[in-house]
Amino acid sequence: MLQASNLSKFYGHTVALHPLNLTVQRGEIYCLLGANGAGKTTTINLFLNFIQPTDGSALVAGIDVVARPEESKAKLAYIPENLMLYPNLSGLENVDYFSALARQRYSRDELTAFLTQAGLQEEAHDKRISTYSKGMRQKVGIAIALAKKAEALLLDEPTSGLDPKASNEFSELLKKMSQRGVATLMATHDLFRAKETGTHLGIMKEGRLVEQLTTDQINHTDLEKLYLKHMN
């Protein structure tokens, strides 16, 4: 579903991303681990076509993101680290608006259903976003992804700053979506969460993917050792 082949990004002589080859299949949750500046966000931005690759290509459901940006984006949903929505609109209005931008029209009941599915309590639906906590905003982000019927999910440290309960709820939502066949690529610092939620792990260092493995190959202690080995 998500495929990077020899995808690379240079800023002058600085290398942000060495040629990267990576595939995320339907129903997989691929967690990218690594320090800040390792190239995780660069990879996600390349899949979103927010930045232009220096070389190689990024495909979403077989569609090249540079050549056909609007079609590839129609398959994608994106939740950044700090999901910002329109503060003067309610949660429901935000989902409605972003769905409209993705050419989807929903009734009020359908929009309510998406928000409920994303775990947002009903009494918050019509309150303005300015009164929401970060966890609630991330749930609206999930609702937007659900409403979009996205086939691939790009997450950039979505659980950082969430309390353990909210973080756990978020992971459960991701699992539910992957059961429906959504391919997820998630950048994260949270090894524990990655091991619990992910199906695949990749460790990045200085713009290079240095290690790839599946989560059932390794236990949590060994994962931490492996990660630290690469970082040092």
Binding site: L48, F50, P69, E70, E71, S72, K73, A74, L76, A77, Y78, P80, N82, L83, M84, L85, Y86, P87, N88, L89, E93, D96, Y97, F98, A100, L101, A102, R103, G141, I144, K148, L154
Partner: protein, 471 residues
């Protein structure tokens, strides 16, 4: 999708205090300005009617008199107020409202409204044209400077872009959301003006065409400012920067450029001072024919030629009143001198107009300013047209007086008197303002420049939004 964008933008705006305060204030100021302008218009119109009736009455009722004395007694031509001057008073305030018409002398328009006003009026009046020309562009900037920067700063632009929204639609949605409230305020102003004008008795020649054209000009003007505002917002990294840049743009195009261009026009094609102008005319008059001086060279020559043509020895033998004929010849000669000098003034004016038209490429304010005044018949061209009509009427009136003397009295018969019958036979001065077609033909350049501004700014904002970075 455009509807969804528009609805979201408007909902956001309405829920935000800034938008409500700005739009309500603007509406209030607009309504007040039109009402104030209407009162002024009515009182001026009433004075005009009264003065005009008075002048006519005095002319017709001047009693028995030698016709040439009647021509010296003179009368007045009053400039009618064009109905749309309710919206744009143009240069009327500085141009004078009446011209004294008498034999031998072309006078300038007198009694400018500005003469009667206090120093306070130098700071500008709360008139509809002030709101239309200056205030509304500022309001557009105030409402739209952060249209894109806000989304970039808060991070919603990332999510927006990730939804794969086509830039054209995003732009159009935001454009309409910014333009719609402005268009509504403009329509309110114009509708109010139309209702008030049609409520005034004898409101004169007021074509729907002129009203519509004026409305269109302003709507295009605001479309240009909407384009420019969104353009700057799309390319600015921060809202604060966008605001400062747009304020700078406003100052430049609405205040600095008009001042600079009028200074430039003046220095390239300066008008003579009043004194120089009168000196030049006086000099030409001295060397030429003067209807009250039979002894100068030009008069002697005319006398000899006339006597030769009629084959007589003395002026008394001529079959008509030589004094009247001689004065009329003098009048016509002087009229030519006036014509020549006023024509050169007019040329200077036209040269200056050309400078403005060229510089209009640099500021959307300039073509709009000139179009607005021209459509409201309150620009200098309209004033010139009135002054020319008044001069034509003066020559007709004096010619009729001298002609009566020539035909109905003998040379030297200075005690010949004419009466009311002759005075009433002179038709009343009836000025018809420039036709719509004439105005359109004259303003073609400005119209094209304004449309050019619209087209270029629309393309620029489209390209800018397309290339807009999310960072």
């Amino acid at each position: 999708m455009i509807r969804a964008i528009l609805r979201k933008e408007l909902t956001e705006n309405v829920r935000e205090g800034r938008f409500r305060v700005v739009i309500l204030t603007l509406l209030l100021v607009t309504v007040v300005s039109v009402l104030v302008s209407k009162r002024y218009y009515e009182s001026v119109n009433e004075q005009h009617e009264r003065a005009r009736a008075n002048a006519r009455q005095e002319w017709v009722g001047q009693g028995q008199k030698n016709p040439h004395s009647a021509a010296h007694y003179g009368t007045y031509a009053f400039k009618p107020k064009y109905p749309l001057s309710l919206i744009d008073n143009g240069v009327d305030k500085y141009a004078g409202v009446s011209i004294f018409l008498e034999a031998h002398k072309r006078s300038d328009a007198q009694y400018m409204a500005a003469q009667d006003q206090t120093a306070l009026s130098r700071f500008g009046d709360l008139t509809p044209d002030f709101i239309l020309m200056f205030l509304i562009p500022l309001v557009i900037i105030l409402l739209g400077f952060n249209a894109f920067t806000r989304e970039r700063e808060s991070g919603t632009l990332r999510l927006l872009k990730s939804q794969g929204v086509p830039v054209g639609r995003l732009l159009l949605g935001k454009w309409v959301a910014l333009y719609l409230p402005i268009a509504i305020v403009t329509l309110v102003l114009f509708a109010l003006a139309a209702i008030l004008l049609s409520g005034i008795r004898d409101y004169g020649v007021f074509g729907v065409g002129a009203w519509l054209l004026l409305l269109m000009v302003f709507l295009v003007y605001y479309a240009v400012f909407t384009n420019l505002t969104l353009l700057v917002s799309a390319v600015s990294p921060r809202s604060s920067l966008s605001f400062v840049a747009l304020l700078g743009l406003w100052v430049l195009s609405c205040l600095a450029m008009p001042k600079a261009s009028s200074a430039m026009a003046d220095s390239l094609f300066p008008y003579p001072t009043q004194l120089e102008f009168e000196e030049q005319i006086a000099r030409d008059k001295r060397s030429g024919l003067n209807g009250h001086d039979p002894w100068n060279a030009a008069a002697k020559k005319l006398e000899e030629e006339t006597l030769a043509r009629h084959n007589v020895q003395t002026v008394a033998e001529l079959p008509f009143n030589w004094d009247g004929y001689f004065m009329q010849q003098g009048e016509e000669h002087e009229a030519e001198i006036y014509f020549k000098h006023y024509q050169s003034l007019k040329e200077t004016y036209q040269n200056q107009t050309r400078v403005y038209k060229t510089l209009a490429v640099l500021s959307p304010f300039l073509p709009t300013r000139f179009l607005s005044m021209a459509i409201c018949r309150t620009d200098y061209h309209a004033h010139w047209d009135f002054a020319d009509a008044a001069e034509k009427y003066r020559l007709m009136l004096v010619g009729k007086m001298n002609g009566d003397m020539v035909e109905n009295s003998k040379t030297g018969e200075w005690d010949y008197l004419a009466d009311e019958k002759l005075w009433a036979a002179v038709p009343d001065f009836d000025y018809q303002p420039l036709s719509q077609r004439t105005v359109l033909a004259l303003q073609q350049g400005n119209l094209l420049t304004l449309l050019g501004w619209w087209l270029v700014s629309a393309m620029a904002v489209y390209v800018a939004v397309k290339k807009m970075s999310i960072f």
